[in-house]
């Protein structure tokens, strides 16, 4: 029945990949992901898994190597952060187009410039349209659980897509947290050996990554879109199975104290736990506050969102990334768009917060809610707490 351990979350994510018996790890180290890279390397070096660790000269090579190894049928893991993810960007849509179930652990970090190694979501947001399933973890336990779930979801024959697991840099990666670490037998029961749809093998000839002429490119994109849109059914199914086996519940959008809520915050990632405390504080003051935490970013959970906002009058969406010159933060603009055709939709405001490692505290969440409740947001979006 697993055991409760105190472990640094970055290390725990590598341990989770080891429990999945990965066969290839192709990783280039970058702060704050480096402990993932180092620990995956240790695990392979110590012979704890039957795997190769590929030392590569860049993130572009790391993901290219991952594509190659996944195409041969090896269960493949990689990990990166920030500039590293941007450097991988050319290969990201190729991995998904080739329908290779690579799992990528991302230690979310701000992108340059100015150069900043601390946490926000400006690395993953520009990559949201690359066809990867995107999960956002709130704490160390979710990082471990989602890493294991990611292999199961991505490798499902009805999905066949790469999956990234997002954990906030430092705020999660470098924290030592209490984690229920499943044991090998439990993970083996949950995650069967990977049976690829096709592999690069001389006995069964197949061409992968072929040219798509104008006559077929649009059909190829449509088929990829349908694959990721439909993957939500498998994700829900896998999460139900996970809950039945491990007792921890996962939902695309997790609601906190929203039953009678009139105003709700929306968060993604590690801020959810702080926001929960903020909601508790507001409740004590008599404010009917609640919280929606997005765990599944791609495919976007439209149905769950519409259900979750029922009865809510004001939605205060937080974003840890900017869309410069755009309609607001990416989470905000997607939520607003998703609710456009809902007749009784809430008023939706946007706070851009927690950029480049800026701390967001309980009183920030309470202040944001109280101000949003008064409808005092003068712009479509606001850089909360910015001096000036």
């Amino acid at each position: 029945m697993g055991k409760r351990v105190g472990m640094e979350v970055a290390i725990a994510s590598a341990e989770a990949a080891a429990l999945c018996r990965f066969e290839v790890a192709a990783v280039y180290p970058i702060t704050p992901q480096s402990h993932v890279a180092e620990h995956l390397s240790d695990i392979v070096n110590d012979g704890r898994v039957d795997a190769s660790f590929m030392t590569v000269e860049s993130e572009h090579s790391a993901l290219s190597a991952a594509v190659g190894s996944s195409a041969t049928g090896a269960r493949t893991v990689t990990a990166t952060s920030s500039q590293g993810l941007l450097f991988m960007s050319e290969v990201l849509p190729i991995a998904s187009a080739m329908r290779l179930p690579i799992v990528m652990i991302i230690a979310n970090r701000a992108v340059s410039g100015p150069i900043n190694i601390w946490n926000d979501h400006s690395d993953i947001m520009p990559m949201r349209d690359t066809g990867w399933i995107s999960l956002f973890a709130e704490n160390g336990q979710e990082v471990v659980d989602m890493t294991i779930q990611a292999f199961r979801i991505g490798e499902d024959r009805r999905v066949m897509l790469p999956v990234n697991v997002n954990m906030d840099g430092f705020q999660l990666t470098h924290m030592v947290e209490p984690i229920n670490m499943p044991d090998q037998e439990e993970v083996d029961r949950f995650l069967p050996p990977y049976v690829p749809y096709a592999t690069l093998h001389p006995d069964r000839v197949v061409s992968m990554g072929t040219l798509g002429m104008p006559e077929i490119y649009a059909e190829a994109q449509k088929s990829k879109d349908v694959a990721i849109v439909n993957s939500i059914h498998v994700i829900r199914e896998v999460w139900k199975e996970w809950e039945a086996q491990f007792g921890r519940k996962y939902e695309p959008i997790q609601s906190y104290r929203t039953e009678d809520a009139e105003i709700a915050l929306v968060t993604m990632g590690s801020m959810g736990e702080t926001a929960e405390v903020g909601v508790d504080e507001l409740r004590k003051q008599g404010v009917k506050a609640g919280l929606l935490k997005i765990r599944l970013w791609r495919p976007f959970p439209f149905d769950e969102l519409k259900k979750a906002v029922k009865g809510i009058k004001v939605l205060a969406v937080t974003d840890r990334a900017c869309s410069f010159g755009g309609p607001g933060g990416p989470v905000f603009s997607e939520i607003r768009s998703a609710l456009y055709d809902v007749p009784k939709r809430p008023k939706i405001v946007n706070y851009i917060i927690g950029l480049g490692g800026r701390d967001v505290q309980v009183e920030d969440f309470t202040a944001m809610v109280l101000r949003a409740a008064k409808g005092k947001l003068s712009e479509p979006y606001e850089f909360y707490g910015v001096r000036g």
Binding site: A97, S207, M213, E215, E219, S223
Partner: protein, 97 residues
């Protein structure tokens, strides 16, 4: 020239656009792109094979007499063979002429 048969609908596209039939690219005749074609003057040809080596399409072959010919199903008319040919035995002529 036979037309390439594409999957008609997105539902027919293999996952990852994988192609399970070896050599199926042969059915796509890139020769239809050609605006100019290489013509060999065998009187000038020294049979060095530089055209064969440089052809990016790999569509030039050696005939029984040791001279070189292009397969016009695949020759795109890029002109690299003519450019590289030392004795200038290859000239590019317009398809339209």
């Amino acid at each position: 020239m036979t037309e390439k048969k594409w999957p008609e609908t997105w539902q027919e596209v293999n996952p990852g656009c994988m192609v399970f039939r070896p050599g199926s690219a042969l059915e796509y005749h890139t020769g239809s792109w050609r605006a100019k074609r290489p013509i060999w003057d065998n009187a000038k040809c020294i049979k060095c094979g530089v055209c064969y080596i440089f052809c990016p399409e790999g569509c030039i072959t050696e005939d029984a007499d040791g001279y070189f010919v292009a397969n016009f199903d695949y020759c795109k008319g890029c002109g690299i063979c003519a450019h590289e040919c030392w004795p200038k035995a290859i000239v590019m002529v317009n398809e339209e002429d």
